[in-house]
Symmetry: C2
Subunit: 152 residues, 2 copies
DNA sequence: TTTGTTGCAAAACGTTTGCAGCCTC
DNA sequence: GAGGCTGCAAACGTTTTGCAACAAA
């Protein structure tokens, strides 16, 4: 069923999370949340920090602090595609998807597959309660493939 | 106990890889290869560097350089389980497996599942030629679950 | 009023780089 | 002998930390 992923819903989830953990509801935290959920695609801490300066000024330390809270509340996920910069992505209202990573140029594309999702989600463990997953498919994109062929 | 032939086989693969790429066959590279393939489990660059000092002294720079070559030759894989330290793992003679990561304590366990593997490996793309994959299942391990329950 | 959170800057951390000398080819 | 590779140390870029001031509860 289609979920309602309005900003309001996300804010409510975050508010409840903060209340549960006895964290404070600061304007900085909501400004960051709002920014993330009104923009598409992957982002990293510095990109977010720079973009934020135009709307609501926050420090880089607060960006990192808030990202940690958003991770804990499962509203975003963190990826590290082999570089040292962590990439983040919002999860709420984002259909579950996987990532294809080109090992030559580093480009990342998304894809989804019902069979894969079903196989992973049906897996149960005795000593582990899984909440979510990340699947990275590594390989070579068509562009890099063409370049490799040209060289030979 | 792992098979004895694997070290020899791995060396041959690496030698061929170095020849193809016109890289030099230095003792440092083989010492690192040997160390990795005669030890079990995950490791990171510094751990490997420290362990190497007792057998064949190499610099940290050479460790990183060689890890890059081993990644390119697909003899090892790199993981970044949400921390900033990259973890490495040998792949040759290592049955394909996935990772469960506890989001509380960070502990990583391995598991395999035929259905999941089949679903992932059967996936084909027009503009992407996949070589391998990493599946990270995030959740809470039984130990951390017990502690969380105790708190409430 | 209490104490969690902020901004700032400095520190920490893993990783990469520049360079002189060495050694594989 | 040429030039790729090594060790070393310094540099880099991202993330974390310490601290004083601030503001949410």
């Amino acid at each position: 069923m289609k979920e309602d992923y309005s900003l309001d819903t996300v804010k409510k989830i975050f508010t409840q999370f903060l209340a549960e953990r006895k964290h404070r509801k600061t304007p900085e935290r909501y400004a960051i949340l709002e920014h993330i959920f009104s923009h598409e695609g992957h982002f990293n801490a510095e990109l977010l920090y720079n973009a934020m300066q135009k709307e609501y000024r926050v420090s880089l330390a607060t960006v990192y602090n808030t990202l940690e809270l958003l991770l804990d509340s499962r509203l975003i996920v963190k990826h590290q595609f082999g570089e040292q910069v962590a990439q983040y992505e919002k999860t709420f209202g984002n259909t579950m998807h996987n990532h294809m990573v080109c090992t030559k140029c580093g480009k990342v594309k998304e894809f989804s597959d019902k069979k894969i999702r079903a196989a992973i989600q049906s897996k149960r463990f005795v000593h582990f309660e899984s909440t979510h997953y990340s699947l990275y498919l590594y390989g070579v994109c068509s562009k890099c493939k063409a370049e490799l062929n040209k060289k030979q």
